[in-house]
Amino acid sequence: MKQEGKRAIWSEYQKEIADDKFFYVRSCIRQNFFPGSEVAFLRIMRDVLKKDVYEHPCHTTCSGIGYHGDVVPVETAMTVVARQFALMTEAGYTNYVPSCITSFGLYTEILDTWHHFPEVEEKVRKQLKKATGREFRIPENLAHASDVIYKFRKEIFAQAKYKLINKETGEPLKVVDHIGCHYAKMFPSKGVGGAEYPYVLSGMVEEWGGETIDYPERRHCCGFGFRQYLVQANRGFSVACSKEKFESMKPFKPDMIITNCPGCPMFLDRWQYVINEMEGKRYGKNGEGIPVFTYEEVAGLVLGFDPWDLGLQMHQTDCEPVLKKMGIEYSPEDKYNTKICASVSENHNLINV
């Protein structure tokens, strides 16, 4: 592997990411899968980085799941998205930050469509106006939440309590970075590092002391695939996808997986459990699984957040091996003790009704 070659490509795929004043929109499914992640994002942005992040109570689904599941027509999706933009416009923000990769992909796709077909944009504007009376401006900056964390990776590291380094050996942790398909595969120029060698997560990992692994099935989908997962009979395809990735990454002996998509951490995490149940196979060291994290969780760990505040107890593949390697202090007995999340300050209600 020639790193300089990769760096050359990364330098070609840089994107503009806003510095402050973010209009943050949550993901439909992340809130259920790993709710700690979005909370951690807000905590990092607001408390650690002291940024202005606004959340609108009237934000709805972007309808991306329906769009990719072939039940929502594109024009409907556009109108729903136009409404989100209207909320941003009304709130006085211009930097749109979705938490969801599929949303990010859909927004990118829609903006690109409008760019090439202004008449479609006009039609959507009319439809939105007619239906809701709202008007919108196109965001000045569209960045995925992981882009934002990527942008502030150095600032985060400046306040880091832990590094992605095995405390006992001093070796960097080997990290598999898994990028959501809708991040850059459709529009390579809209992703940090492009589609073939995305840098958005690698950049964080490198900055925080770890080392990313480039394994053959790196580009492969996690297997979520919407229709594959949603229909129970099709879930075999979904597991098979994840399995192909695990088989491929196994020889590299990864310590952990980092993801930036709502579905990927869920499936890479859950399918390890399912594969173990079905076939008795594990892919980590010492018969363990490979812990799977979202980038917010990793950032939170680096910043010294409590693992259970980050919601790591929600993972089916135990995350403790990584906690131990990083030397993170945590209390095992509190893992499943429900408590009010300390991070949610009264000033920042989750829902600003």
């Binding site: 879930r235 098979a240 192909e244 594969i275 149940e277 079905m278």
Partner: protein, 114 residues
């Protein structure tokens, strides 16, 4: 094992390294014209069996070369060895011998678990 209501699907991908290509090697060694096929499909078009059932000598050639033997093992028995394929082949591939050698190789692989 828990009941999940689904099982892990098997991929359609041909895993070249994992496949057993000894049947192909057996044929290559004995019938060099096996290499000459350009997959034009002339053989399949004239084939009596191919016109009556799902049987394609062209596909069989390629599957053997990739080591996808299980798909070929039963199918190849449908060949009548009539020789029309040999007559139409633009590359002079000795198709009948290939079928015969493949049959032989499968018998041997059954016997000695090649």
């Amino acid at each position: 094992m828990e009941k999940f209501g689904f099982s892990i699907s098997k991929g359609r991908q041909i895993d070249y390294e994992a496949n057993d290509r000894r049947v192909a090697d057996f044929i290559y060694e004995r019938e060099p014209s096996f290499r000459l096929c350009i997959e034009c499909g002339g053989c399949s078009a004239t084939c009596t069996t191919g016109n009556l059932t799902k049987f394609s000598l062209r596909e069989i050639h390629i599957l053997i070369k990739r080591g996808e033997n299980d798909k070929v093992r039963e199918d190849i028995k449908k060949c009548m060895l009539c020789g029309k394929c040999t007559l139409v082949c633009p590359r002079g591939v000795n198709t009948r011998n290939i079928v015969m050698l493949a049959k032989q190789a499968f018998i041997k692989s059954d016997e000695y678990a090649v």
